[in-house]
């Protein structure tokens, strides 16, 4: 079909050329959408949410993690005990649920404390800059020079063993990494042209920090938080394995691993159940962290 050729002049329609056809999405909408598209991260997220539900509701449904049954010690998985029993006849499945609560709780609480302390410390240092920043960073250097493992072991040997002490030992120097990250972010964002523009407009330091710096630094902070939770859980496991962390009858992934390894390889289930769950949880947190990093970075957005 031949179109009629119409050579009538048309005035320029600048409105039309300025029009934006694409749908507008805000930053957070973009983050959610990128994350939803990342299958690995979504599977990890679902798994972590599942663990959290288990940690909260599980021990209510299966409260008897301390109950011993000396007639049925070290039984392999069966109908009554789907994951078998330990050397005192305690149900491994019930203990694993209880252990999930303990381990996740330690991970979340310790890292949330680190997040708050680190953000405040790093934010203030980066925000004040100059001499104050210098002094605050030197304090961090001094703290860093003390071997962290030694402090933790020392604290756990001297103080009463238990969850509070463990959390304290994980947080006493645990916030340093995040403080450095936040400070670095704030310092580099401060030189960004939009922060300078706010300064030129007469905005105070506080306004710049709250409206321009922190919202743009939040991405890496969230990623760091997500990726450091498995670190805390791992540290708990390590310390408990050494017999310094959570002691029986309380259950945690760490002390269950320790119990399992003492019966290794005769009663494999004792070791494998917590080991598999622990490994999966670590992997899920790290994969979610990776997904978040991609989603939160606008440059990675397509």
């Amino acid at each position: 079909m031949e179109m009629v050729k119409d050579f009538t002049p048309v005035p320029r329609d600048l409105e039309a050329s300025q029009k934006i056809y694409r749908k507008s999405i805000s930053y957070s909408q973009g983050v959610v959408r990128t994350l939803l598209q990342n299958k690995v991260a979504m599977v990890s997220l679902v798994f972590i949410l599942f663990l959290i539900v288990v940690a909260i509701a599980g021990p209510i449904a299966f409260p008897d993690y301390e109950k011993t049954d000396l007639l049925h010690t070290l039984t392999p998985p069966s109908k009554e005990h789907i994951l078998g029993t330990d050397e005192l006849g305690r149900d491994v499945f019930t203990r694993l649920i209880r252990g999930t609560r303990t381990s996740l709780m330690i991970g979340f609480i310790a890292e949330t404390i680190n997040l708050v302390v680190g953000m405040l410390y790093g934010g203030i240092a980066g925000f004040l800059g100059g001499k104050a920043d210098n002094i605050m960073m030197r304090i961090i250097d001094i703290l860093m020079s003390i071997p962290q493992m030694l402090v933790m072991i020392l604290m756990l040997t001297v103080l009463k063993k238990g969850i509070p002490t463990l959390i304290l030992s994980l947080t006493i120097t645990g916030w340093i990494g995040l403080a450095r990250l936040v400070r670095g972010q704030i310092l580099s964002l401060r030189e960004n042209e939009y922060a300078l523009a706010a300064k030129v407009l007469g905005a105070g330091k506080k306004e710049i920090l709250l409206t321009h710096l922190l919202p743009n630094a939040i991405g890496p902070i969230i990623v760091n938080y997500t990726m450091s939770i498995p670190g805390a859980i791992g540290a708990e496991a390590g310390l408990s394995y050494l017999g310094l962390g959570i002691s029986v009858p309380e259950a945690s992934w760490g002390n269950m691993l320790q119990a399992g390894s003492s019966q290794f390889p005769a009663s494999l289930w004792l070791f494998f159940a917590p080991a598999v769950l622990f490994a999966l949880a670590m992997l899920a947190f790290n994969l979610l962290g990776d997904g978040l990093r991609d989603a939160l970075d606008p440059k990675m957005r397509r």
Binding site: S24, Y27, N192, L196, V200, L201, T211
Partner: protein, 330 residues
């Protein structure tokens, strides 16, 4: 154009600390007057300190020494309230339209930010004014709810201009406002700036490395080299009769969109690179690249000297260069 002076800059220096206790002398003893209502163009290669000078005027940086007087008042001695008032009178447009808008804020909020800081009007007034500004810079009010990433470079630069205008400034530092834009968009922004200047009676400091744009937009032009002004003159005078060898070299390198001109071009007059501003040579800073440098070492930096008609040159050999030009030996 009235001749009253808006900015009186005297012997201004801005040094930055760098490693090994050395100083980076970004701005090194500049004296300059900017008159009310004019456009002062500032050119030079990257690293010459032109942006630092602009940023010092809008108080992003505090000067290391020297003074800046705005409307007769020394800006270092302003009280808290006066300083805030100064921040509304003196604004800046940034180079990178991608980095100068907060990606988390909508266009509307970005433009309203300054009005909020200076408590201009209530929220409705600000929204009205914001819509007005959007139209003034050639965008539409439907754009207010959008985020910066949805716009092209030229549109973002318009938002940057609207943000600066929101607080009713008298003076705007335009720091390479078009160098990150496409050629077809550059002309739009330049036209917009000129139109706004006429309409609002603004004084502009126009910093750029694109010499042909500066020639077009500026009334007077200053050429900077390694933190110092080497030549200041009316725009046409500077482009038609440059005296300082550096200015000559710079002007000779302007690309021309004409193959015949480009193919007959002689080799660049300026060889080599600009020396590091950390280790500035003593004497004339340009001597290491200057084809007319004499071997007798003179002490100190050559001062800016008036060679008539407001044409200032900082060169020990300026007089002999002018003479040889007059004789047509050049």
């Amino acid at each position: 154009m009235s001749d009253d002076v808006l900015f009186e800059i005297e012997n201004l220096s801005k040094y930055f600390d760098v490693e090994n206790k050395k100083k980076l002398r970004a701005v090194d003893g500049i004296s300059l007057q900017i008159k009310r209502g004019e456009t002062f163009g500032l050119v030079g290669e990257s690293g010459c300190g032109k942006s630092t000078l602009g940023r010092t005027l809008v108080r992003i940086y505090e000067p290391t020494s020297g003074s800046i007087r705005y409307d007769g008042k020394d800006i270092a001695k302003l009280g808290r309230r006066e300083a805030k008032e100064y921040a509304s009178k003196v604004q800046m447009i940034f180079q990178d339209p991608y980095a100068s808008l907060n990606p988390r804020m909508t266009i509307g909020d970005i433009i309203k930010e300054g009005m909020k800081i200076h408590k201009i009007g209530n929220d409705k007034d600000r929204t009205d004014r914001m819509c007005e500004l959007l139209e003034l810079v050639g965008l539409s009010k439907e754009h207010a709810q959008r985020f910066p990433y949805e716009f092209s470079g030229g549109q973002r630069q318009r938002v940057g201009i609207a943000r600066a205008l929101a607080v009713n400034p008298e003076f705007i530092v335009c720091d390479e406002p078009v160098s990150a834009l496409d050629v077809s968009i550059q002309a739009q922004i330049i036209n917009l700036l000129r139109e706004l200047q006429d309409k609002l009676g603004l004084t502009l400091l126009f910093i750029a490395h694109d010499l042909s744009v500066v020639r077009y937009i500026s009334d007077r032009v200053g050429v900077m080299y390694l933190g110092s002004l080497v030549e200041v003159a009316n725009a046409e005078e500077l482009y038609l009769n440059p005296i300082h060898p550096y200015t000559k070299g710079l002007l000779s390198a302007i690309p021309v969109a004409d193959p015949l001109v480009e193919n007959s071009r002689k080799r660049s007059l300026l060889e080599g690179d600009i020396p590091s501003p950390v280790d500035i040579p003593t004497g004339c800073k340009f001597a290491s690249r200057c084809p007319y440098a004499t071997s007798d070492k003179k002490e100190g930096v050559p001062p800016l000297h008036d060679f008539g008609g407001g044409h200032y040159v900082a060169c020990f050999n300026a007089q002999s260069l002018i003479n040889s030009m007059d004789e047509g030996n050049f």
